[in-house]
């Protein structure tokens, strides 16, 4: 009897190495552990075993059953792992092929610059406001000390829509007048106003009949030209880097007195002189000045009590300088091949 058990055990051990696939494994499982399997059959022999040997025989058969079961289970896992590995090996892809295009849209370059400046000025307490692009002569000119016949009107060749009353605003300055009138001469003002403006210029690389400005106005009881200088310094450094130097040059605008033109040191040549700064070492980027007392009174602010300063940047010019763009039409002719470049963060 015991010999029979040992024979079965031996035959099983011999057959193990021949198992290389699941089917063989299952067949062997049936052959040994199935209802008529060799190990199952052994249990049936129990009734013929003398009582005193029954215990020993039972233990022997059980040990064979455990051996067969465990061995087959291990073998199964081994085969499964091998199969999975083979499957994974077959699933290998070329990890260098191009990715699927997950694209987020790019901003217009001007809007990017606008937002950058808005954020700076908001951090300094300036509200961002807007005004209509179709304006009345009153706000665009009259209230800014540009009465009819004023020579400075000639340089802002304007698109009139209705007689000499309604026009496409030639600058964002009318928003200054509107903001002051809203303030009713009673409260201080800090605002910046970005927006589209229009002048009768023929479009070429440096001129555009439509362009953008960002205007700033601060009205307070003790604002000075020196405060404007400090504010401009902060803006210039924000836009063009910490080592950007600035200077004021006297200029003339009807709505400010004194008026200045504001220059930054040329970031291309660091002030040595190059084609970008026309060999001067300086680049003019905005016009500014102390709010003309006439403008203050016309807009309801008593010039004896209130002082203020105003500034205006040409946004295209800033963007052109900052990003090295040579043609102003770039901003109004979206070329997706170029715009994509601007969908990224910038380090300050």
């Amino acid at each position: 009897m015991i010999e029979k058990v040992n024979l079965i055990k031996e035959s099983f051990e011999k057959i193990i190495p021949t198992i290389t696939d699941m089917k063989t494994l299952n067949d062997i499982k049936v052959e040994y552990l199935g209802k008529q399997g060799k190990v199952t059959e052994l249990s049936k022999l129990m009734k013929d075993v003398p009582n005193e040997d029954k215990k020993e025989f039972g233990m022997l058969v059980n040990s064979v059953r455990t051996l067969v079961t465990e061995t087959l289970d291990n073998k199964k896992e081994e085969l499964e792992t091998a199969m999975l590995n083979e499957k994974l090996a077959n699933e290998k892809i070329d990890i260098t092929l191009p990715s699927t295009n997950i694209s987020v849209g790019a901003p217009n370059i001007l809007e990017k610059v606008v937002e950058d400046m808005e954020n700076l000025f908001m951090s300094m307490g300036y509200d961002v406001v807007e005004g209509p692009e179709i304006e009345e002569d009153l706000y665009n000119f009259e209230l800014l000390n540009l009465p009819k016949g004023h020579p400075a009107r000639d340089s802002q060749d304007t698109f009139y829509l209705e007689g000499d009353k309604i026009l496409l605003r030639s600058h964002t300055s009318p928003v200054q007048a509107r903001t002051m009138l809203e303030g009713k001469g009673e409260k201080p003002i800090r605002m910046v106003c970005p927006g589209k403006t229009y002048r009768r210029d023929d479009d070429d690389a440096t001129h555009s009949h439509q362009f953008m400005q960002i205007e700033g106005l601060l009205i307070d009881e003790n604002a000075t030209l020196a405060d404007l200088k400090g504010t401009f310094d902060a803006a210039a450094k924000h836009l063009f880097g910490e080592d950007c130097k600035t200077r004021f040059r006297p200029s003339y605008y009807p709505f400010t007195e004194p008026s200045v033109e504001t220059d930054i040191s040329c970031f291309s040549c660091k002030g040595k002189g190059c084609p970008l700064c026309k060999n001067t070492g300086w680049i003019t980027i905005s016009g500014a000045g102390v709010v003309n007392p006439k403008v203050l009174s016309m807009c309801g602010y008593d010039p004896k009590r209130w002082h203020g300063f105003a500034f205006g940047f040409g946004l295209e010019r800033i963007a052109m300088l900052k990003y090295g763009i040579n043609d102003i039409r770039t901003f109004y002719q979206t070329d997706l091949r170029q715009n994509k470049i601007f969908d990224r963060k910038e380090d300050k």
Binding site: L97, T100, N101, S103, V104, G105, A106, P107, N108, E111, M122, G125, Y126, D127, V129, E130, P132, E133, I134, G149, P151, D154, S155, F159, L161, I166, L168, R190, M191, V192, R200, H209, L218, D220, T224, L225, A226, D227, K229, T231, R247, F248, R249, P250, S251, Y252, E257, P258, S259, E261, V290, N292, P293, Q333, T334, D335, R337, N339, K340, D343
Partner: protein, 791 residues
């Protein structure tokens, strides 16, 4: 253009370093665009000591020239070179105009170390047959060997090209004015030019009468000069006119320009014999003709000021003279006009007739009445000196100028408060004196009298602050920051709303586009879906910028075409811009254009191609983002020739139409392009505040159902009924299949819905869900109508 040589007549700049001076002028606030100097290095006065014929040439001479510190040999071809002549020598290394460098050379075997020059070779005289024939320039014998010949001749000059557009200060327009600027900078005094008229014993009043019939001429002065000899101007006048950018013509014409550049006062010279004995200044009659000096017939308007002889116009005042009284080579007797006309009228006249001249620009800026008087005398004096004229006694004058002096009362503290500097009363006194402003000082207050020259100065402390600031120098200004604001700034109005939408659209993969507000009529008439009139410019620059757009879609299509031409395949754009209707009402529009793939992969087929449902997805994502879930609906848009009749819709929020969405009509573009446009103002509606909501804890029961309906029935028609019957038990409804084909009739389609039922406070029973489900099926089949698909 300002000649520093000329300015040197009125203020002493003899010993100033030109670079330092121009730097100071710039810092004072005068924008110098360009500094042009005629100085040429290595140019000296030489003495020709010996001249010998060149052995190998019949016209060349070999000269030994003493340059003071050396004697050099120069081969010279000029016929007038001779021994003992003082000449201008360009030494080796000198660079003449045209970037012509003088080098040591060998001319036909003879060494030559420099060049003996003529003025035209130095760019100081026009090169003509006449100047060429004169040969080399012969200097007087007192010329000092080794010295700078241009200084010796008094023609050494530095010309400043100013960017005058940025200047309100009239002083930049004439040399005496500029001398005042330089004098203030250098703290020196201005010396006015010489006028020494020897009047003949005859009065202009015997020959001439003046009348003014308009208030547009506040001052008119006239003098008469007899027996002038027309000829060439002296060199100094010619050189200076050239330096200031004007062409010399003859002594008489040159003198009128010279005095204008000196005093800023334009003059006009009439041929007195052609003019007759009378001048009447008046406004032109409408359509009155005049033939101007340039030979053109011009038709005048009643806004033009004219000088007449009592009958006909003889001069378009302030702009250009008439041909009928022009000074010519036979002119003997001259009437000089020095007058002030209304600047606005002159500007309008010059732009109406497209005649901008040095004179009209100056009138436009306004003139100082003092110089009107001084200039006429200066001109008479120069005609006497350089045209042999005889000046008649007396000046005919009609003067209505308001001469009340402008006085500004100001304290030093006010100046400091404006500029943010600290200057004392004494500093201020010094600076006012440098500026040449007369003042009274009493009780810490200055009463400053503004010279009539400074028409640009108005009457506020700010004007004085500007003058003081320029002298103080803005480069000395120390930047400070205004007192810190109590709060951070914020976006006002709907700017913040717009920014968030813009950001969302970019996050959804759309690229921001920016286009022109003014469009051609052809573009303005496309994609109109509203019944609103447009603004057409009355005087456009050109037709392609003549209408204010009311929709942004055509502009986006323009960008589409532009990019398509550049082989961009997937074009997804948006623009947010203001539009304006005929009543000037502003409406901010959001427009989107999509074409090609929304998500793409270049080598696999794993693409999401843009179709109606993709752009609708963008729209709904946006509407949900702004809090309008469940508040929007659609209606088919069929009657618009720019939209595909089967694939386009009107968009509604709370039953208000806010825009359109759909495919571009194939007759407009063969490409598959989808567009939408909505009004941001109409979309910006009150929404519920954002609040957390707990997810349902109780299990949900999902039931699927499919209906067969007529093709013209929309899914929304079916959904409406389902929702109505489903009530609060129905928590979600989802289309999971749409089928047309063999299994249904040709005019039918099958839509399959999956309906989710839940209740927030308990578990639903199968029975109650089945009851509701069957009710839905019944109602849909009856009312839509629809057929339930049997499984």
């Amino acid at each position: 253009m300002i000649s520093l040589n000329w300015v040197g007549d009125y203020v002493d700049i003899e010993n100033e370093n030109i670079n330092e001076l121009t730097d100071k002028i710039t810092k004072f606030g005068v924008n110098i665009e360009k500094v042009i100097s005629n100085n040429i290095e290595k140019l000296v006065i030489g003495h020709v000591e010996k001249v010998e014929k060149h052995p190998d040439s019949d016209h060349l001479n070999v000269c030994q020239v003493n340059l003071g510190d050396e004697v050099v040999q120069i081969v010279c071809g000029a016929s007038n070179v001779r021994e003992d002549l003082k000449v201008i020598v360009a030494k080796t290394g000198a660079v003449l105009p045209g970037n012509f460098e003088i080098k040591k050379s060998t001319i036909r075997g003879i060494e030559s170390n420099g060049m003996i020059c003529a003025l035209f070779e130095l760019g100081l005289e026009e090169k003509t047959e006449e100047t060429y024939a004169k040969g080399i320039t012969e200097l007087p014998s007192d010329a000092q060997v080794g010295a700078d010949p241009l200084k010796y001749l008094g023609i050494s000059d530095t010309i400043l090209e100013l960017d005058v557009h940025k200047h309100h200060n009239n002083d930049c327009y004439y040399h005496i004015g500029f001398a005042y600027i330089v004098a203030a900078i250098l703290n020196k005094k201005v010396k006015l030019p010489e006028v020494n008229i020897k009047e003949v014993n005859e009065s202009i009043n015997d020959h001439f009468k003046l009348d003014i019939n308009t208030d547009k001429c506040s001052l008119y002065t006239a003098r008469m000069v007899k027996n002038v000899k027309i000829g060439e101007s002296p060199d100094f006048i010619k050189n200076r006119l050239v330096a200031a950018g004007m062409r010399p013509i003859n002594n008489v014409v040159d003198i009128s320009n010279y005095v204008m550049l000196e005093y800023g006062q334009p003059l006009h010279f009439f041929d007195k014999d052609k003019l007759g004995d009378k001048i009447v200044v008046r406004l032109a009659e409408d359509k009155e003709p005049i033939k101007t000096l340039d030979g053109k017939e011009r038709v005048l308007s009643s806004e033009d000021i004219v000088i007449t002889d009592g009958l006909k116009p003889v001069c378009l005042a302030g702009v250009m003279g008439g041909e009928n009284t022009e000074v010519d080579e036979n002119t003997k007797n001259i009437l000089i006009e020095s007058a002030i006309f209304d600047g606005i009228n002159i500007r309008k006249t010059s732009s109406r007739h497209d005649l901008r001249s040095e004179a009209s620009t100056r009138y436009g800026k306004g003139l100082n009445y003092e110089y009107t008087y001084e200039a006429i005398n200066r001109a008479a004096y120069l005609l006497q000196e350089y045209a042999e004229g005889e000046v008649l006694k007396d000046t005919v004058v009609i003067d209505n100028v308001d001469k009340t002096p402008k006085i500004i009362e100001v304290k030093a503290k006010e100046i400091n408060d404006i500029l943010g500097i600290e200057i004392s009363d004494n500093d201020m006194k010094n600076e006012l004196e440098r500026l040449g402003f007369v003042y009274n000082y009493d009780n810490e207050t200055f009463n400053i009298t503004i010279p009539p020259r400074r028409l640009d100065i108005e009457s506020s402390a700010n004007d004085i602050a500007e003058e003081i600031g320029c002298l103080y120098g803005y480069h000395n200004l120390v930047g400070t920051l205004p007192v810190q604001s109590q709060k951070k700034g914020e976006y006002k109005g709907n700017i913040g709303y717009r920014k968030q939408i813009s950001k969302r659209l970019r996050a959804l993969g759309l690229n921001e586009d920016k286009n022109y507000t003014l469009v051609p009529p052809s573009m303005a008439s496309e994609f109109i879906y509203e019944d609103k009139k447009q603004i057409v410019l009355p005087n456009p620059m050109s037709l392609d910028k003549s209408v204010v757009r009311t929709t942004l879609i055509p502009s986006l299509l323009d960008t589409y075409e532009y990019n398509k031409k550049r082989h961009v395949k997937d074009i997804n754009l948006y623009e947010i811009s203001n539009t304006y209707y005929e009543d000037y009402k502003e409406e901010t529009k959001i427009a989107v254009l999509m074409s090609g793939n929304y998500i793409s992969n270049s080598w696999s087929n794993n693409n999401i191609k843009v179709d109606y449902y993709v752009i609708k997805g963008i729209l709904e994502n946006l509407l949900n983002y702004v809090g309008l879930n469940n508040r929007y609906s659609y209606e088919r848009l069929e009657d618009n020739k720019y939209f595909h009749p089967g694939m386009s819709a009107k968009i509604f929020v709370d039953k208000e139409e806010i825009g359109v969405i759909g495919r571009v009509h194939p007759s407009i573009s063969k490409d598959e392009i989808y567009v939408m446009e909505i009004s941001m103002n109409k979309m910006n509606k009150q929404t519920k505040p954002l609040k957390f909501k707990e997810a349902n804890k109780y299990p949900e029961i999902v039931k699927d159902v499919a209906f067969i309906v007529d093709k013209n029935i929309s899914s929304e028609d079916v959904e409406k009924v389902i929702k109505k019957v489903g009530g609060r038990l129905l928590s979600d409804i989802n289309v999971f299949d749409v089928y047309t084909g063999e299994k249904v009739k040709e005019n039918e389609k099958q839509i399959a819905y999956s309906l989710t039922f839940t209740k927030e406070d308990r578990t639903l029973t199968e029975d109650e869900v089945m009851e509701k489900f069957n009710e839905i099926i019944k109602k849909v089949t009856e009312t839509v109508p629809a057929t339930l698909r049997d499984n």
